[in-house]
């Protein structure tokens, strides 16, 4: 059975920081390369949008292994959620050839926490 896992060292990040983690895999067929993608996407009521910010290719890999990776985050856009739309950041790993794909999500904003686009009730 094929296994693929992306683990991040931290789950809350700030603009221009370095995001690092590990990708582990065990697959049954030879691997050409593993591609890591730093990206954001929107989800919610309407059509979806996606932005790939950076990619990293790990080549000359065996059918099983673990490698570390890192990316430098941009200045924006921040993770946010409202009623109609959420913007989510993630690092995704894809094994080529094949259809294996896994992602790990994180939050990205000046506070490290997702920005909430609605008024919170006063306690």
């Amino acid at each position: 059975m094929n296994e693929l896992k992306v683990t991040l060292d931290r789950g809350e990040l700030r603009p221009k920081e370095k995001i690092s983690g590990k990708v582990s895999w065990r697959v049954s067929t030879p691997v050409r390369y593993i591609e890591l993608r730093l990206f954001w996407y929107t989800i919610g009521k309407g059509s979806e949008d996606v932005g790939v910010v950076d990619t990293l290719r790990i080549e000359d890999v065996a059918q099983a292994g673990t490698r570390g990776f890192s990316f430098i985050l941009p200045a924006s856009p921040y993770s946010f959620s409202g009623r109609l739309i959420s913007l989510v950041w993630a690092v995704e790993a894809l094994v080529e050839p094949g259809r294996e794909c896994q992602r790990a999500e994180f939050t990205f904003a000046p506070s490290g926490k997702e920005v909430l686009l609605y008024a919170q009730s006063q306690g």
């Binding site: 989800i43 919610g44 009521k45 309407g46 059509s47 979806e48 959620s81 409202g82 009623r83 109609l84 739309i85 959420s86 989510v88 909430l116 609605y118």
Partner: protein, 188 residues
């Protein structure tokens, strides 16, 4: 308030729903397509799952060894001339799936029929009947809506089921509009 990412009716969750075939299997659909010489139409009103059907049909055809090219026409977006040139260069063995064929002006539709000739394989999704022989008629039904609701939110409370069926009636079978209303109801 429910965050958009947690809403069970968010579009990324709706896109994962499979088309519910009404008493026919995908193998039978593909056999029927062969019988029609790969010239067929998926007919149905707005929001009844035509796009979901053709997307899934494309996957099934590819899994059966067919080469498939999908084109989607959108309301209010003019069809570029290059579209017709590309269509004429598609090999005869390739199955062309054209979603939104009824958005084409009549002249453009006849031009497409001319371009694809007798040999090219063409499947369309359309609101109206008669452009090509009908492969399947897509309809929004209470049974399908119940199944989709249970896939999206698990065991469905009686009042939500009741409201959803009322919405289906109000929207004349347009399940997309039903899910949009349910999204709003959930978001608080």
């Amino acid at each position: 308030m429910l965050k958009a990412r947690d809403n069970p009716f968010a579009s990324h969750r709706l896109h994962k729903l499979n088309y519910r075939l009404p008493g026919i299997s995908w193998d039978e659909i593909i056999d029927k397509l062969r019988g029609l010489g790969f010239r067929a139409a998926v007919v149905g009103d707005e929001g009844t799952g035509k796009t979901t059907f053709v997307r899934e049909l494309a996957q099934r055809l590819r899994a059966n060894g067919y080469c498939v090219q999908m084109r989607r026409l959108s309301f209010g977006v003019p069809v570029p001339r290059v579209f017709f040139r590309q269509l004429s260069s598609v090999p005869d063995s390739t199955v062309i799936i054209l979603d939104g064929a009824d958005l084409l002006p009549t002249v453009a539709w006849y031009y497409i029929k001319y371009v694809v000739g007798r040999n090219k394989r063409l499947i369309i999704a359309s609101h109206r009947q008669g452009l090509l022989p009908t492969l399947i008629h897509s309809r929004g039904s209470q049974v399908v809506l119940r199944e989709l609701l249970s896939e999206l939110i698990g065991p469905c409370p009686e009042h939500i089921q009741h409201n959803s069926l009322q919405l289906l009636q109000r929207h004349n079978g347009d399940m997309r509009k039903v899910f949009r209303d349910l999204y709003d109801a959930c978001s608080g």
